[in-house]
């Protein structure tokens, strides 16, 4: 079986002949959209940290702070028919998907902010009726594979989804998100090897934030670059600057185009740094196992600042617009609503209000939906 490459794909492939980076073709509007999305992801994270500190939320928050460029940059080039499989640290991915349609657009493909907030608050309005916590959601309709706690455990499902799609005449790709620590799991190898054998369009994004909970990378793998794992499967392994949303977009698009042309899977390692503890329960202890200088150094290149600099260079941000919204680098304790675009603040507030208004699931639901009922 060979994957179909639509004429749009062929056209795009031709465009690339001139070896322009995909991000160079983005319009000013698209660039500004990317910038705003970074703020949206950051604001979501900061607000939830605050809500959690006030004791309003149950469970653990895995902050995506400082890693937003990976989510935004990788999602930006996807089609509505593509699938994603986010994990614990990728909470914004659930509502950022298909941001090209406009992040506050009713026709968006990702989940709504209301649905995601209902999940965080444990309310009935979440797609899974809040039966599992935090990031353990997904949507068949929105083509988001429902995550579980088992690290790397959804990569085979992503491969299976693409196989089924190809058999049904589709041309989708699937993006999976994984911490670098999770690449040590056997299932990571089994799934990618299988995808490579069948040339399935699965792109494994490795968010190398240099820590797996309390363990540094040199105790997780002897590799310097986790992208080198690709060699074992005979597939491309790309490295992106995870702080630079444009570089992530370029490398992921390269992998996506490769996959869509029927050439099979790829790995894209995005180098980044985990800004806080592993989860919010770990913030205090994280100071014991991570030297303060390392944290300070790791947080120096804030993705929002990197993006702003680029937009100024491109002439997309000038005058007042170039200096407003200073949230870059600020942590949850310092940042205020004034640091964010007002529409971003309003957007999230809408979700939070919906979550607060949504009821808790009825106790009896705990015993429902074990099986699909037949007839």
């Amino acid at each position: 079986m060979s994957a179909k490459s639509g004429s749009a794909t062929a056209e795009r492939a031709e465009q690339r002949q001139g070896s322009r980076r995909p991000s160079e073709s983005l319009t000013r509007e698209e660039c500004l959209e990317l910038f705003k999305q970074l703020y949206l992801a950051r604001y979501f994270d900061i607000r939830l940290i605050k809500e959690k500190k006030r004791g309003r939320l149950r469970g653990t928050l895995y902050s995506s702070h400082n890693q937003e460029a990976i989510l935004v940059g990788s999602l930006f080039g996807l089609q509505p028919t593509d699938w994603i499989s986010p994990i614990h640290r990728d909470m914004p991915a659930f509502f950022l998907k298909d941001i090209r349609a406009g992040w506050d657009n009713d026709n968006r493909i990702g989940m709504t902010i209301e649905e995601v907030c209902c999940q965080v608050w444990g309310k009935v309005g979440s797609p899974g009726r809040a039966r599992d916590n935090w990031s353990h959601i997904g949507s068949k309709a929105k083509k988001i594979i429902h995550s579980t706690s088992m690290l790397a455990g959804t990569i085979p499902a992503a491969a299976g989804v693409t196989y089924a799609d190809r058999l049904q005449g589709g041309n989708c790709v699937a993006l999976t998100y994984n911490g670098e620590g999770s690449t040590a799991q056997g299932i990571f190898h089994e799934a990618i090897n299988y995808a490579a054998v069948h040339k399935l369009p699965v792109i494994t994004i490795i968010e190398n934030n240099q820590w797996a909970y309390g363990t540094p990378t040199d105790l997780e793998s002897p590799l310097e670059d986790f992208a080198d794992r690709a060699k074992g499967y005979g597939i491309p392994g790309l490295i992106a600057d995870g702080q630079d949303v444009f570089d992530v977009y370029d490398k992921v698009m390269e992998a996506v185009n490769h996959a869509r042309e029927g050439k099979g899977p790829a790995i894209v390692e995005c180098k980044t740094f985990r800004a806080y503890g592993h989860g919010d329960h770990d913030d205090d202890r994280a100071q014991k196992y991570r030297p303060a200088e390392e944290v300070e150094k790791g947080r120096q290149r804030d993705p929002i600042a990197v993006c702003r600099k680029r937009l100024i260079e491109l002439g997309h941000l000038t005058g007042d617009a170039a200096t407003s919204f200073m949230a870059e680098g600020k942590g949850a304790s310092e940042a205020t609503n004034d640091d964010f675009p007002p529409e971003v603040v309003a957007y999230l507030n809408k979700g939070i209000e919906a979550a607060i208004a949504s009821p808790l699931p009825a106790a009896e639901e705990g015993a429902m939906w074990v099986f699909k009922e037949n007839n």
Binding site: S139, I155, P156, A164, E190, A191, V370
Partner: protein, 337 residues
């Protein structure tokens, strides 16, 4: 030679052929069904259950997989998420442990955690059971692992008729089903039978009474059903009438048929070849004592494998597994209780 006027002799079919026919007919019926597993295509499967299917349905729908149980099961989950029905073969059911996480955490919970949005029509099937010198890693009945994981149906047919009808039912069920086949029965001549030529299913969750009796009920499934039938014949010589129930399906369990039988016999022995501790026989006994205690004249009993692995050499193997003799002795003890 003169043409014969006699009706053609109907062909009896073995357990393995019955399974193959089920897969063939379901693939024919459902264009969105595929089969995957190790060596199932070109070779036709280690035992031949999928023989000929790849030639008929192509390499895309009968897929030779890498040696990765986790990938075989996990990718099937993704396929199911995207509209397909999948038969995932374990070359031996023992190796299902290598895909255990994908089954119990990913597949079994999918319907529950999505509050019914997603259901996973995947049948994980494979050869199981002892009595053939398969030794430690080719003899297991590990059904209790999965009966203890809510969201999975667990079945084990013992006849060709059931093998075909239940595999079809499992593939149409819409839930993940762990399907235990008994490899010692695959080509056993004595159990061959004629199969209906029309499409039929055997619904999951219904037990079968294989022999009627009045003094003691023998509850079993898989290979041990035949041991129970032999034991019943032996007991008859001693003037004891045994009823034999073939559970066929463990989850869901047909309690009614068990209790109705105990109402007649007031004595029960549950026979299976998994180890006793935390095995499925213990679950059946627990349900009987909880819900049918008033019907009993003797404590419900179990004949199971000893709490050991299954050894290789014949005398050792027979020593640890249930046998006709062990069942007979236990039945006599209960009747005299």
């Amino acid at each position: 030679m003169a043409a014969t006027t006699e009706a053609p002799v109907a062909l009896k079919k073995n357990y393995l052929t019955a399974l193959k026919e089920a897969l063939d007919e379901e693939m024919q019926r459902n264009k969105l069904m595929l089969c995957q597993g190790e060596d199932i295509g070109r070779l036709g499967g280690a035992f031949g259950v999928t023989d000929g299917l790849q030639a008929k349905y192509g390499v895309d729908r009968v897929v030779d997989m890498p040696i990765s149980e986790a990938a075989i099961i996990g990718s099937a989950v993704g396929m199911a998420l995207n509209g397909m029905t999948v038969m995932a073969e374990m070359q031996f059911i023992d190796f299902i442990s290598c895909g255990f996480d994908q089954i119990v955490n990913m597949m079994a919970t999918y319907h529950y955690r999505t509050a019914g949005e997603v259901n996973i029509p995947v049948v994980v099937r494979g050869p199981a059971g002892a009595y053939g010198g398969g030794a430690l890693y080719h003899s297991q009945m590990n059904e209790a692992w999965f009966c203890n994981s809510p969201g999975l149906k667990v079945v084990c047919p013992s006849t060709p008729y059931d093998a075909k009808g239940m595999l079809k039912a499992a593939l149409r069920d819409g839930n993940p089903v762990i399907f235990y086949e008994i490899k010692e029965l695959y080509r056993k001549r004595e159990i061959e039978e004629e199969l209906p030529t029309d499409d039929y299913i055997v619904p999951l969750g219904k037990a079968a009474v294989r022999r009627e009796g009045t003094d003691v009920t023998l509850v079993s499934y898989g290979q041990n059903v035949y041991h129970c039938l032999e034991a019943a014949a032996e007991l008859e010589k001693q003037g004891i009438s045994a009823e034999v129930i073939d559970l066929r399906s463990l989850v869901p369990l047909d309690e009614e048929t068990i209790f109705a039988s105990i109402a007649k016999t007031s004595r029960v022995i549950v026979v299976n070849e998994a180890p006793m501790t935390c095995g499925f026989a213990g679950e059946v006994v627990a349900r009987i004592t909880t819900k049918a205690f008033h019907l009993l004249d003797a404590p419900p009993s179990r004949v199971t494998r000893m709490d050991t692995p299954v050894p290789w050499v014949k005398p050792l193997e027979l020593h640890v597994l249930p046998s006709v003799e062990k069942i007979v002795n236990e039945a006599v003890r209960l009747v005299r209780f």
